[in-house]
């Protein structure tokens, strides 16, 4: 009887059904908490759901690969969802084309800042060159960050973790911080969130304000293109960014 129970449990935990159900349940609980706390920053649904799922996996000692068997179907939808970000851009097309060169200035300065500060600070605090290279593209959207990291000699999967952590930091802290900095223009708020915190920041910006959400998605998309060009140029051209992967 006990053996049968253990076998059934092991089979269920390793099936796609488990990861899928766990992710949806954690998301639903996290959304309820977000509504209960009326949008308290630390109750960010991504952060809370990730901690909940990770805790369940660690307590039940379920390997990440078993969880991924089900969770990959949710992760897959990130592709079509990125395409769907064209909709807020379309709705805000008039105000975006009006702010064209503001967008260009923000994306270019933001992209350079992200790379230079990440590499310089990581090295200054005793990080290895590989660590610094893995952190350099972390403000871009995850698929770009991973590809860029591997092309410059970083570790792609480590970059994925850094990128996710950066996004969660942005979703939790960016709106509050921008208010403290007296940045109230929703266009600028969106650009700053998208540039620093890519898609996860954008998901928060969309929740707060449609204009901020559109500009955040726009910044994320253009940042992916600009960083892909700027990153190798900066690493080759700036003397103290010469690293040995």
């Amino acid at each position: 009887m006990n053996l049968q129970f253990a076998q059934a449990w092991a089979a269920i935990v390793a099936s796609p059904l488990f990861g899928l159900t766990l992710t949806l349940a954690a998301y639903q609980a996290a959304r309820k908490l977000w509504q209960r706390t009326r949008g308290f920053s630390l109750a960010n649904p991504v952060l809370v759901a990730v901690v909940l799922v990770a805790a369940v996996l660690l307590i039940l000692s379920v390997p990440y690969q078993d969880y991924w068997a089900g969770a990959q179907y949710i992760s897959f939808l990130l592709g079509p969802a990125t395409v769907a970000l064209a909709l807020p851009l379309h709705r805000q097309a008039a105000s975006i084309s009006q702010a064209g060169w503001v967008v260009a200035a923000c994306v270019l300065t933001g992209s350079i800042t992200a790379i230079v500060v990440a590499v310089t600070v990581t090295k200054a605090f005793g990080g290895s060159d590989v660590l610094a290279l893995s952190l350099a593209p972390k403000s871009t959207t995850a698929p770009v960050a991973i590809a860029l990291s591997e092309s410059i000699g970083g570790i792609g999967s480590l970059t994925a973790a850094f990128t996710i952590l950066t996004g969660i930091l942005g979703a939790v802290a960016a709106p509050r911080l921008l208010t403290l900095l007296h940045v109230f223009d929703q266009r600028v708020r969106g650009l700053a969130i998208g540039m620093s915190s890519h898609g996860i920041g954008t998901s928060r910006a969309l929740q707060d304000d449609p204009t901020a959400g559109a500009f955040s998605g726009l910044a994320m998309a253009i940042n992916a293109l600009v960083t892909a060009i700027v990153l190798p140029l900066l690493l080759a051209g700036v003397p103290w960014l010469h690293l040995q992967p």
Partner: protein, 127 residues
């Protein structure tokens, strides 16, 4: 709604194909986003169109889609624990720098545009 999802997936497919052919480190979905934006600007679908409803449904639950990748961080807990100081400093300070620089440049350029448009009033407008 199904037609809408098909439209999203077809844009992504064309995007994925394009970046593979061009061999550039840009994700296919980002190219797909540009394609859909062009299509939306040309066709201007109403609020009940399938593609609008499908896109809205996905974006309403965008936060859900990041959870599996976020949980993936648990695979790197030992790396993060071993190099927590350079990782935390590099990640947080560069994130903070981007936020401050981008919002500063944004506010500055908007103010500059405002001042320029006031110095050169529209012809026929109040002097």
């Amino acid at each position: 709604m199904i037609a809408g999802f098909i439209a999203l997936l077809v844009c992504q497919l064309i995007g994925e194909f394009t970046v593979r052919v061009a061999a550039v480190p840009i994700p296919g979905p980002v190219v797909g986003m540009v394609l859909l934006l062009i299509a939306l600007q040309l066709r201007r679908p109403g609020p009940t169109a399938g593609v609008v409803r499908a896109a809205d449904a996905l974006l309403r639950n965008l936060q859900l889609l990041f959870i599996p990748a976020g949980v993936g961080v648990i695979q790197y807990l030992s790396v993060l624990a071993g190099a927590w100081l350079p990782v935390t400093a590099g990640l947080v300070l560069s994130w903070l720098a981007v936020l401050i620089v981008t919002s500063g440049v944004g506010v500055g350029t908007l103010r500059l545009a405002d001042r320029l448009s006031r110095r050169r009033p529209e012809p026929g407008g109040p002097a």
